[in-house]
């Protein structure tokens, strides 16, 4: 019997509310010291990653969020039996505890921004051309022409990156004020200017949302997406101080990974 993990919670108490897990399985908590790991029992995971499964997992984690601080587990995290689970809890206890304290009363918001990349590039090209008008110099040979084209493209890219940095900085000044931690990713695609996760105190969530709408109205040519509050998927980290403990933890991670491989599980 495998245990499907939904998250680590900051209490060893039983879950009071009846929660349905993946494929209708019963969700319950296994206590370890003063924290707990929320699981359901599962025979085998045969189906691929479907939207339904991901939403079922997410719904469990969000229900837990109502009563506990939760460290959400990656979708399709499986452990082979209770003994392996408790061994994992023992090894990671200090990390789990530290993360639970750090994330107490906080949730994650996602912000994505699409900018008019084509217009930005066109604007840059026009500006560079006006700075350096074409001169009718001697005819260039192929190698020199090639280098000139590359150099111009390089300058356009540099300017494109600089403008992206400027926009992100301006947006982050507003949003960052209401966040305790953040993860910003710039230009994952040419159009996707910003893909950000902000960790926000629950008491600041309204202010954060207000700041978002303020930025949105100040950038009419841009497209915005705000999502949340989510469990803090992007802000759970494990410490790496003790090499001996790291090696031990690496083995346990491998155990978890192996158990995932056995059932053909993928991470999301």
């Amino acid at each position: 019997m495998k245990l499907y993990l939904y998250g680590i919670v900051d209490s060893s108490d039983r879950i009071k509310e009846a929660i349905d897990g993946l494929r209708g399985s019963r969700v319950y908590s296994i206590p370890y010291c003063d924290i707990g790991v929320v699981v359901s029992e599962i025979d085998q995971v045969t189906q691929g990653v479907t939207q339904g499964c991901v939403l079922e997992h997410e719904a469990v984690v969000e229900k837990l969020m109502a009563d506990f601080t939760v460290l959400p587990m990656r979708f399709r995290t499986l452990v082979d039996g209770r003994d392996n689970l408790l061994a994992m809890m023992q090894s990671y206890y200090r990390d789990f505890k530290g993360n639970l304290e750090r994330l107490r009363n906080k949730s994650e918001f996602g912000v994505k921004v699409i900018w008019p990349a084509d217009k930005v590039k066109e604007n840059i090209v026009n500006r560079l051309r006006s700075d350096q008008p074409e001169t009718s110099g001697p005819r260039r040979s192929a190698g020199t022409r090639f280098m000139k084209e590359k150099f111009e493209r390089y300058r356009i890219d540099e300017e494109f990156q600089t403008r992206a940095d400027q926009f992100i900085k301006a947006m982050d000044i507003f949003l960052g004020k209401f966040a305790v931690e953040k993860r910003l990713e710039k230009l994952k695609t040419e159009k996707l200017l910003l893909d950000a996760a902000y960790l926000v105190e629950k008491s600041q969530a309204c202010d954060f949302r207000e700041a978002f709408w303020h930025i949105k109205s100040a950038h009419p040519g841009f497209k915005f997406l705000l999502s949340g509050p989510w469990p803090a998927y992007n802000f759970v980290g494990l410490s790496k101080h003790d090499p001996a403990r790291d090696a031990e933890q690496a083995n346990l991670f491998a155990e978890v990974a192996r158990s995932q491989d056995l059932v053909g599980a993928d991470g999301v």
Partner: protein, 113 residues
């Protein structure tokens, strides 16, 4: 089904397209089997050559920017890089690879290029 989280946007399709694009860049797993092992190896080798080619190109551009190359040197470097780029294009076509195929996911370090 989701209890609390809300997604708010005026352009859901456009965001879905961009998110898909950013995730589609690389497969989650290496697709290695007896039928495509040669192509997989060729892809890996070409990726490394492409990385070196891009590094050479950037170095040359920096030197042009700094003005440390004579006209003859710019011509020679330009011709070499141009030939290298053409050869890479031929190899990619021969092996049925696209520009976006020539990359490696280095896990927490991100993509190679």
């Amino acid at each position: 089904m989701i209890a609390h989280a809300i997604v708010e946007t005026d352009s859901p399709d456009e965001f879905a397209e961009q998110i898909e694009k950013s995730q589609d860049a690389l497969p989650a797993k290496i697709d290695a089997n007896p039928e495509n092992v040669e192509k997989g190896l060729a892809k890996l080798v070409l990726t490394l050559i492409e990385l070196i080619r891009q590094l050479l190109e950037k170095q040359a551009i920096r030197r042009v920017e700094a003005g440390s190359l004579s006209e003859e040197e710019v011509e020679r470097v330009g011709e070499t890089l141009m030939k290298l780029e053409n050869k890479m294009a031929q190899l990619k076509e021969l092996l049925g690879l696209k520009d976006e195929d020539l990359n490696l996911n280095l896990g927490p370090l991100g993509d190679l290029m």
